[in-house]
Amino acid sequence: MSSELAHGTGEVAHEAAHTSAEYIKHHLQNLTYGQLSDGTWGIAHSAEEAKAMGFWALNLDTLIMSLLLGAVIMFMFRSVAKSVVTGVPSGLQNFCEWAIEFIDTSVRGSFSAKNALVAPLALTIFFWVFSMNLMDLIPIDWVPGLLGMMGVPFFKVVPSTDPNATFGMAIGVFLLVLYYSVKMKGFGGFMGELTLQPFGKWGMPVNFLLEGVNLIAKPISLALRLFGNMYAGEMIFILIALMGGAWAGFSMGGVTLFGSQILLSLGWAIFHILIVTLQAFIFMTLTVVYLDMAHQEHH
């Protein structure tokens, strides 16, 4: 699709606009596997088909990319953990030790209770989310273009632009928050926390409403923040990529515009390195903070 655009210098503006919309839509569509309208199971070839599959469908691109990235990260850390030496560390072990010290310091900074789960959880979240976000820096047409040649209709390379991935993690964190809230405060204590403040026992329904929203807001904000940032970033990459191709349709200085696309892409990619890291860090830190709140007794 993009190559079509890049070479579409002879097309009229109307057609260019039409293909621009298609181009954007194409880039925002996951590779979905589910039950097709004719009753067979297979891959959806349009957004409508994917939508019609309902809940029981899988976004294969999200799953494959996140599994691959998570596996690479875990394999890297595991290979170090297996051959870890207490003497002078070298190479990859230096990096992993730095990573662990960094996570440990961050967790210690915002988590006051004792829990052996929180630090590894933070490590997993940070590096997994970071690597998923980092996929945003791969030029947007490379992987879908390559797979398109092999007959794969859609492929979103960045799993964190799929709300399924971010909500999956956020719900995992939310379940942990619920579990530790109940474990630390008891079921009664947790219910008390939800219903007895801030207005005392006579304001119970209001309290419950406020605290309920507060509680539900945690996973939703966690998931939507990451999703929103990465989705927006991806969108801007798509628009920048579109620029060169679309403008080439009615401008004689198409080469210059194409150059400016490259410059803008570069600038946005460099800026995006910050967003990629920051969003991973924010997701991790908020997870730790939410778990810390779950461990804390309110009075």
Binding site: T32, M53, L63, V84, T86, W128, A165, G168, G172
Partner: protein, 156 residues
């Protein structure tokens, strides 16, 4: 962009990764880091102790050196004293010996003198006798004048 079962799959994947990280990544690496921390702390403590020991040892060695010097001085002094004592003793012994030799020599000389005197005396008496005989011109009756001669000899 639809919410679908991917969410559940992602949730399961997330749980598995966290479990794996906790069990097989975090624990061994943190254990190694702690072990290294302990090693370094031990090493530093050892170094500190060694430094302390070195200080003690150098203090002790200086003390031993000082004692040794003192002792050596004492030994030299006593040796000198003993040497002078021996010299004095030797001197005394030599003196005694010398005196003894001198005394022996003197006694011998006295004896010699006495003997010479005795000889001289007998010879003098013979000369006197011969002289007297010559003076008188005749033979003196030795028998008759023996007691007179003896008296004369004794006088000489």
């Amino acid at each position: 962009m639809n919410i679908n079962a991917t969410l559940l799959a992602q949730l399961i994947m997330f749980v598995l990764f966290v479990w794996f990280c906790m069990k097989f990544v975090w624990t061994p690496i943190v254990a190694a880091l702690d072990a290294r921390k302990k090693q370094i702390a031990d090493g530093l403590a050892d170094a500190e102790r060694a430094k302390h020991d070195l200080e003690l040892a150098s203090k002790r060695s200086a003390e031993i050196l000082r004692e040794a010097k003192e002792k050596a001085g004492e030994i030299v002094a006593s040796g000198e004293k003993r040497a002078s004592e021996i010299v004095e003793e030797a001197k005394g012994q030599a003196k005694v010996e010398g005196d003894r030799i001198i005394a022996g020599a003197k006694a011998e000389i006295d004896q010699e003198v006495f003997r010479a005197k005795e000889q001289l005396r007998t010879q003098v008496s013979a000369i006197a006798l011969a002289g007297a005989g010559k003076i008188l011109g005749r033979e003196i009756d030795a028998k008759a004048h023996n007691d007179l001669l003896d008296k004369l000899v004794a006088e000489i």
